[in-house]
């Protein structure tokens, strides 16, 4: 992509922005759950993600959310959100997403960084929220998705 087409695309976007909203989605989103499995390859134990293996209470599932820009224009302000599924708890420090700011929510509406997320303890004093109290996770991409670009975010949750 050279600078000229980018500018051209940008101009087009400005002109036809309304049409984009109505036409088709520029970002395709996919969610998949996998489990980590230890396999031996070349004599070494390595961990591989495999499609959800037997999942019983206490087991962890790795959720991967993949976003792809399927349009010919960049997508910016990309924000992926995922409620922690019912019957599952978020595993502390497991959310990752390259090039993203990660925030968490206790109610699915108000998102804050892990350090700022607080709840009131029984005695009324605020305390840091525990990972198992998070009900949703949000990833905010710092940079735009170029046309055709794909990125994913990931976290772990355990079956209650």
């Amino acid at each position: 992509m050279n600078g000229k087409t980018t500018i051209a695309a940008l101009l087009m976007t400005l002109v036809t922005a309304g049409a984009y909203a109505a036409d088709k989605a520029c970002v395709e989103l996919k969610t998949s759950g996998e489990t980590e499995s230890e396999v031996v390859e070349n004599g070494q134990k390595v961990k591989r993600l495999v499609p959800v293996a037997k999942a019983v209470p206490g087991d962890q599932i790795v959720w991967t959310i993949t976003a792809t820009n399927v349009c010919k224009t960049p997508a910016d302000n990309v924000v992926i959100a995922n409620p922690v599924p019912e019957h599952m708890t978020y595993v502390a420090n497991s959310a990752m997403g390259t090039g993203t700011d990660i925030a968490y929510s206790l109610d699915g509406k108000e998102f804050k960084s892990a350090a700022e997320l607080q709840v009131r303890a029984a005695d009324g004093a605020p305390r840091a929220a525990r990972a198992d109290e998070y009900r949703a996770i949000r990833w905010t991409y710092k940079n735009a998705f170029a046309p055709g670009a794909t990125a994913f975010v990931r976290y772990r949750a355990a079956v209650k």
Partner: protein, 345 residues
């Protein structure tokens, strides 16, 4: 475009997933098996500075599988019992700590001699006629004719787990003696619920089918089998008897009488109960009058108290002394019977 490359590189980068240990045991029972867990993510974005309609991903889902986990724990051991007792109950508790309703196949055996039992002595005796009955009416007491099931048909699980009491009945051999110990081990094997324990549960082999409930053994041995031992502690009176003889007098009134014809000798019979736990009741001391001697009337005593000849002397043949000594206490309690005879001329 640098941003595109950055994002692409990120997606190819080897991601080191943080290896946070599974909180084993944090979920005693957990999400019931068969629960469908679904996940849908959303993405918001802009194109050319204009916010676009939120996109929702297709739903990813899987079914929570069956985590078979349970415990067998003895409840009332050691069970103190006596030789010859029948239908002595040893209690166990079978607890379902998995996330599915479960049945259990039960079996009980005598443990090998020498097998230890916590806070008691090792096994050195076997009991007979072992039987198993499940507490079907849930009153924690064995009810003959009511608690008749011999396997656990179906035990549900809920937030705090569910358990059922299992009674092992045994007969104690008459020949068993004081301070003998008989361990019995109850083994429960996970079974398909509703089969009265007849069909054992099996782990699902191969890869998970996200759409169906697979079976995973999560008990400590990962084998769907749990067991525990209980103990019968056999208590009995432990009687010993001693007999001493002393020459009381001779016909010459000697200061040191010897056992010669016409001398009077006194027999002392001492019964001692060495059991630490159990008194002996209805103890009877019987002793025949020795040959070549003749009983001296009105000389029978029990614990130094005279006993009338009418109740304690039988002329025979054989002539004998029979004293009802009553109870002999444990921890070294004694009964002492004395009587005198004259050596025949």
């Amino acid at each position: 475009m640098t941003i595109a490359r950055h994002v692409k590189n990120a997606s190819l980068a080897l991601i080191a997933l943080s290896s946070v240990g599974v909180l084993q045991g944090a979920y005693a029972n957990g999400t019931p098996s068969g629960t469908n867990i679904t996940n849908q993510a959303t993405v918001d974005y802009s194109v050319g500075g204009v916010s676009q309609t939120q996109i929702t991903s297709p739903t990813a889902s899987f079914v929570v599988d069956s985590r078979i986990d349970f415990n067998v724990t003895q409840q009332n051991g050691p069970v103190v019992t006596q030789p010859g007792q029948t239908n002595v109950v040893a209690e166990f508790l079978v607890s379902n700590t998995g996330n599915s309703t479960q049945g259990y196949q039960l079996a009980v055996v005598n443990e090998a001699t020498g097998t230890a039992f916590p806070s008691s002595s090792a096994d050195n005796q076997d009991v007979a006629n072992l039987r198993i009955f499940v507490d079907s009416n849930g009153n924690n007491t064995y009810d003959a004719g009511v608690d008749t099931a011999t396997n656990v048909n179906s035990l549900i699980t809920d937030s705090d787990g569910e358990s059922v009491r299992v009674f092992v009945l045994a007969d104690i051999p008459v020949a068993a003696s004081n301070n003998q110990f008989a361990n019995v081990r109850l083994t429960a094997r996970a079974a398909v619920p509703g089969t009265n324990g007849a069909t054992l549960a099996t782990e699902t082999a191969g890869a998970d089918n996200p759409a169906v409930v697979d079976v995973v053994f999560a008990d400590p041995g990962r084998d769907g089998t749990q067991s525990d031992a209980n103990q019968y502690a056999i208590r009995s009176a432990a009687l010993s008897v001693t007999k001493n003889v002393a020459v009381i007098s001779d016909e010459f009134g000697s200061p040191n009488p010897k056992a010669i014809p016409n001398s009077v000798v006194e027999y002392t019979i001492t019964v001692t109960n060495n059991s630490t736990t159990t008194a002996a009741n209805a103890v009877t001391v019987t002793d025949n009058i020795p040959a070549n001697t003749t009983y001296v009337g009105n000389t029978i005593t029990l614990n130094a108290a005279p006993v009338a000849d009418g109740t304690a002397f039988q002329g025979g043949p054989p002539a004998r002394v029979v004293v009802a000594a009553g109870a002999v206490a444990q921890n070294g309690g004694t009964a002492t019977v004395k009587f005198r005879v004259r050596i025949n001329p």
